[in-house]
């Protein structure tokens, strides 16, 4: 399927961050189907991989191609563990993202209202975004990303800073975003979330993908020792890989 985004093909990807080789030669293909969860210990390179695929970090070597082109398409978005909100009302934060991506102000206002309604924050649309709680800000970040109508959404530990209730709401919204036709690639340390959400698991260890398997098989019969140790909470601490 060639639609400007998929297939997304990363080949021999290497990334150095702050003098540390965070990604050590990764090949990864995404066809835009299914929900992919990237797992791995701290410092395995999960966040760096997502940032590189999203274009926030330039690879040291290797290539990334979207539908055969090396030009990064606009139809992808990313939500971070701690979203940054502009000092303006919640709705205006969504409108801003739309306007900078070429949507007219009138259209942006309409789409922002739709997006904020979808995440259940309509009542808080006029409130200053930075005054919202952590969970509300994360839902707002999802609304902002969703409003852009991305084909692919990267989520970097979206529930890591949230209480269980807020995390469940975020998980529910992410599920709806995927159901609406957006491919999702998420990193998390929450194995319960990974088990419920993922169709496929990509497991990273020290900057390399050690396995990519359907989620059921990964949790029942992990193929690599590293994944098995990780699931058992016994992955040895790697002193050569600082947390990134």
């Amino acid at each position: 399927m060639v639609d400007g985004m998929f297939p997304l093909e990363a080949h021999a990807l290497q990334v150095r961050v702050g003098g540390h080789e965070a990604i050590k030669g990764i090949d990864l293909n995404l066809d835009g189907r299914g929900r992919i969860v990237v797992l791995g210990a701290n410092g395995a390179g999960k966040s760096v991989l997502l940032r590189t695929l999203h274009g926030l970090i330039a690879p040291t070597s290797g290539t990334i191609r979207w539908a055969g082109s090396d030009r990064r398409p606009a139809s992808q978005a990313m939500v971070f563990q701690r979203p940054v909100m502009l000092r303006r009302p919640a709705l205006a934060n969504i409108e801003y993202a739309l306007v900078v991506n070429g949507t007219s102000q009138t259209e942006a206002e309409l789409r922002a209202r739709e997006a904020i309604e979808r995440v259940g924050l309509t009542q808080l649309g006029a409130r200053q975004a930075r005054a919202l709680s952590g969970g509300e800000q994360q839902r707002l970040a999802l609304a902002r990303a969703w409003a852009l109508r991305p084909r692919l959404l990267y989520l970097d530990e979206p529930t890591a800073s949230l209480d269980p209730g807020a995390a469940a709401e975020v998980e529910h919204i992410v599920g709806r975003i995927h159901a609406a036709g957006t491919a999702v690639v998420m990193t998390t340390h929450n194995l319960g979330l990974a088990r419920r959400f993922a169709d496929e698991i990509v497991f990273l260890h020290e900057g390399r993908i050690t396995e990519r398997t359907p989620a059921d098989r990964f949790f029942n019969e992990p193929a690599s020792n590293e994944a098995r140790w990780y699931l058992q909470g016994e992955l040895p601490w790697n002193t050569a890989s600082p947390a990134i």
């Binding site: 926030l56 990313m78 979203p83 940054v84 200053q128």
Partner: protein, 235 residues
């Protein structure tokens, strides 16, 4: 001596509260030129500082060092340079604006631009560290981020604007050189204070000093209150 000062202070307060036309014409011209200079300096300095704050380009460090060095620019040197530019034999002499309020505005603007730009650069660069990943992820280029960051930091940058105004309003050397301290034309608070003190007219000098300090205090109090309010409102 103390009684002289107290007597001068009482007379000064009488001049201020009594609406002395001589005093208030000087005050009004001062505020006019200083506000104009501060606004002009912000129009140039804020985008310039913000742009340097978010862009990576060859020689950036050198530019920042030069910008910071300009903070200590001797005002009389700026005054002299503007004088040379605007004097009859200078390249802009034909404009005929030497010893006019316009010349004072030019000198004050040149003095305030480095202050505004250097401080805006620092504030925006710090904010860019926080916003960079999020804004880039939304497709915002560094150049497009400049107005976004300036708007987002508007209450913080108000302090910079006031600092610029304060610098302009308290300037003496450059203003004296390019303005000439002509009574009723280019006499502003600072040059009037210098002149009246040298003449021994302490009440008028003190009166002007009281107004100058009051204006600066009031503006800073207003900015402080606005900033506190914005932190409560916007987080």
């Amino acid at each position: 001596m103390v009684s002289d000062i107290i007597a001068s202070l009482v007379t000064a307060l009488r001049l201020v509260t009594g609406g002395d036309p001589n005093l208030w014409s000087v005050v009004s011209l001062s505020l006019e030129v200083s506000l104009t200079a501060a606004v002009l300096a912000c129009l140039f300095g804020l985008p310039l500082g913000a742009w340097i704050g978010v862009r990576d380009f060859p020689g950036r460090r050198l530019v920042i060092i030069c910008l910071n060095a300009l903070l200590g620019l001797p005002s009389v040197v700026v005054g002299l340079l503007v004088y040379l530019m605007l004097s009859r034999a200078g390249p802009l002499g034909s404009l005929g604006i030497l010893f006019t309020p316009t010349a004072i505005v030019i000198a004050q603007t040149l003095l305030v631009i480095p202050i505004v730009a250097a401080m805006a650069r620092q504030f925006v660069e710090d904010a860019w560290q926080e916003y960079r990943e999020q804004l880039t992820s939304l497709g915002v280029t560094p150049t497009r981020a400049v107005p976004t960051l300036l708007f987002d930091l508007r209450y913080t940058l108000l302090t910079v604007v006031l600092l610029g105004f304060g610098r302009a309003a308290s300037e003496v050397g450059a203003v004296m050189i390019v303005g000439g301290n002509i009574d009723g034309v280019t006499r502003v608070m600072t040059t009037a204070i210098a002149l009246e003190t040298s003449k021994g007219d302490l009440p008028l000098a003190l009166g002007l000093g009281i107004v100058l300090i009051t204006v600066v205090l009031a503006l800073n109090a207003g900015a402080y209150a606005l900033r506190e309010w914005s932190i409560r409102q916007h987080g």
